[in-house]
């Protein structure tokens, strides 16, 4: 065990997607592929291994970032031996569709309504291509088309274009992706001076994690080391319904903004309620040195930021320190959310029928205690804050029977009849291997 030593992350082997922010703004495409022919599949992996972006490369302006992941069925299609397949995390082997009931993806979010073939055994490989401008994306897309023509045994089965605006704002209007943890050995500083960088093994396999242990890693070592698990979710956002909900419960635009901020935990600019409880502070929201520099322990009852606010649920920071049974550092994750679809025009309260939302991407070493834990215990449930009947007001599986409590003096406000504002359109668990592992996959002789 080497928990105390510098992990010496093998940055030239680790794919960039897990450790590094993408260029912003960016445009991109997610491709899902099916491997119909094993030899073609391996040839694809051989080529991808050459172009996948490593964590050694800068991903700033003027760049293209390519990340590759495989489902359980994808690894099987490539001929990974059964013993090796069985060494992967149980949740990964089951796949996200099989976990949907546990994850709260039921009713309209259930796999029976997912976009085909998401969640099925037809999805084998995911490729994320993110570029700082459309010219680069078109060039990358042309390369991809060329590669596909030469490999008839690899079929594109699903595609989703995505983007991030220069403002960093998503379809609900909020700046997203602020509270990322830093990772030891990645060379990237933390955005929060109040959060120590996570042990590398929380995000990348092959290094000690926060427990001091090595995370369970698939075998052989060449396959597992420097890999990370990825959860991919396409989330349709019901922006008009969200705006109408706030509109109907507020008497002014300022009150709408306040209710929205209370639900999210941040103002639209990204300014956290913990630091700007009364009104938005766009300068604070845009200041990366300050907008993540806060804790919650000075606000145990949630008068500034409600205990049930989305951002406080997803990352309670020091809120749980006195509970004695929760270590929040075991439930951190890298989030790579991105937008898809056209923005609903400002001020519009009626649905225009367009498909818009967020592609949520999780990266971490522990699907169960990171992604699944946060989704099931902290977003879909309220036991941990003493409100078992409340769910995350923005992304929780609300069904118009639950509410949201906003602590305030003299009397708390309680929003009732919350409808769902987010519908899962599909998703799956992937494994994003290291570069050596991709070469190993390409050279499998089975």
């Amino acid at each position: 065990m080497s928990a105390a030593t510098d992990p010496h992350l093998e940055l030239d082997d680790i794919q960039a997607g897990a450790l590094f922010e993408r260029p912003s703004p960016y445009v991109g495409t997610y491709l899902m592929l099916r491997i119909a022919n094993r030899a073609d599949g391996r040839e694809l992996v051989r080529r991808l291994h050459r172009i996948a972006t490593t964590s050694r490369v800068s991903t700033g302006q003027g760049s293209t970032s390519i990340t590759v992941g495989f489902t359980y069925h994808g690894l099987a299609a490539l001929g990974v031996p059964q013993a090796s397949l069985e060494s992967f995390a149980p949740e990964f082997r089951e796949g996200m569709a099989a976990r949907a009931a546990v994850l709260g993806d039921v009713a309209a979010s259930g796999p029976e309504h997912w976009e085909q073939p998401l969640g099925s055994s037809e999805v084998h490989v995911a490729i994320a291509v993110l570029c700082s401008d459309t010219d680069r994306l078109q060039a990358a897309a042309a390369q991809a088309r060329e590669a596909r023509r030469e490999l008839p045994g690899v079929v594109v089965v699903w595609r989703q274009d995505c983007y991030q605006l220069a403002t960093g704002r998503t379809s609900f209007g909020f700046k997203d992706g602020i509270g990322q943890p830093a990772v030891e050995g990645s060379g990237r500083p933390s955005t929060s001076p109040r959060e120590r960088p996570l042990k590398a093994g929380e995000i990348v396999l092959g290094y000690p994690d926060e427990t001091g242990e090595l995370p369970p890693m698939p075998t052989p070592e060449v396959l597992g080391r420097n890999g990370t698990y990825v959860a991919f979710l396409k989330l349709h956002t019901k922006v008009a319904a969200y705006r109408r909900y706030l509109h109907d419960r507020a008497t002014s635009r300022a009150e709408e903004d306040l209710l929205g901020a209370k639900m999210v935990g941040r103002w639209q600019s990204g300014a956290p309620l913990a630091l700007a409880p009364e009104r938005d502070d766009p300068e604070l929201g845009g200041d990366a040195k300050r907008n993540n520099d806060f804790l919650f322990a000075d606000d145990p009852r949630g008068f500034k930021c409600p205990l049930g606010a989305h951002a406080r649920r997803a990352n309670p920071r020091d809120s749980m320190d006195e509970v004695g049974s929760v270590d929040v550092r075991l439930h951190r994750m890298i989030r790579r959310g991105t937008s898809y679809g056209p923005a609903l025009p400002e001020g519009m309260l009626e649905d225009d029928g367009a498909d818009r939302g967020i592609v949520f991407v999780f990266a971490g070493a522990h699907l169960k205690r990171q992604f699944e834990f946060v989704k099931t215990q902290w977003l879909n449930d309220g036991i941990f804050i003493g409100a078992p009947l409340e769910k995350d007001p923005l992304v929780g599986p609300n069904d118009e029977s639950s509410g949201f409590t906003i602590p305030q003096r003299p009397i708390r406000r309680r929003l009732q009849d919350l409808p769902p504002f987010v519908v899962t359109r599909g998703g799956d668990y992937f494994f994003a291997p290291g570069l050596r592992a991709m070469r190993w996959l390409a050279e499998l002789g089975t």
Partner: protein
């Protein structure tokens, strides 16, 4: 149930937000008196004295340690808010909980002690037995119950005010007035 299979965990039966959690272990030969003494010491620790209501783990409703079969076996039985298996890793990462666990379970068989967290986890999964039946007489989490107690104390304080009857006449107070008679 294959409780002896290390690595598997049963979430426990639950009633509302609360789930049951029980461990059954054998006491190391000759260690019965030491364990009983350690439990007496625990009972005298701040937070664990009867009436302290301030255990290190704030999400458990109550906890009992039962020595039985002539002090050759130990049962630890508790009720926990949330599915305990989801918080399994957290237990091992929470210092005070782990220390408390260590001072008791060091006297039991199969326990190799800290700092081998992997072995400790296997020990717990091995000792955990899911209840065959579980019932509760009130709903609510520890947080909700403490809040309810605070609210009732405040309500009683209001009732003690000489003008309470007058104040509770407002139609909006009807629900409180209904509770004010006894």
């Amino acid at each position: 149930m294959a409780a002896s299979v290390a690595g598997s965990s049963e979430p426990g039966l639950s009633v509302g937000p609360t789930s049951e959690f029980s461990l059954f272990v054998h006491v190391k030969p000759g260690q019965g008196p030491s364990l009983r003494s350690a439990l007496v010491d625990l009972q005298d620790t701040p937070g664990y004295r009867p009436g302290d209501y301030d255990m290190a783990v704030q999400t458990i409703h109550e906890a009992r340690f039962v020595l039985f079969d002539d002090d050759t076996r130990l049962a630890f039985i508790t009720s926990f808010d949330g599915p305990w298996d989801a918080y399994m890793e957290d237990f091992f990462s929470s210092g005070p909980t782990l220390t408390l666990f260590d001072v008791i379970f060091r006297y039991t068989e199969g326990y190799d002690g800290l700092p081998d967290v992997g072995a400790l986890k296997a020990f717990i999964l091995d000792a955990e037995q899911m209840a065959a039946a579980y019932a509760r007489n009130y709903g609510g989490t520890v947080i909700e119950i403490r809040k309810a107690q605070r609210v009732n104390a405040a309500f009683q304080q209001v009732l003690d005010h000489p003008n309470a009857a007058e104040l509770l006449k407002h139609p909006a107070m009807q629900a409180l007035l209904d509770e004010a008679g006894d």
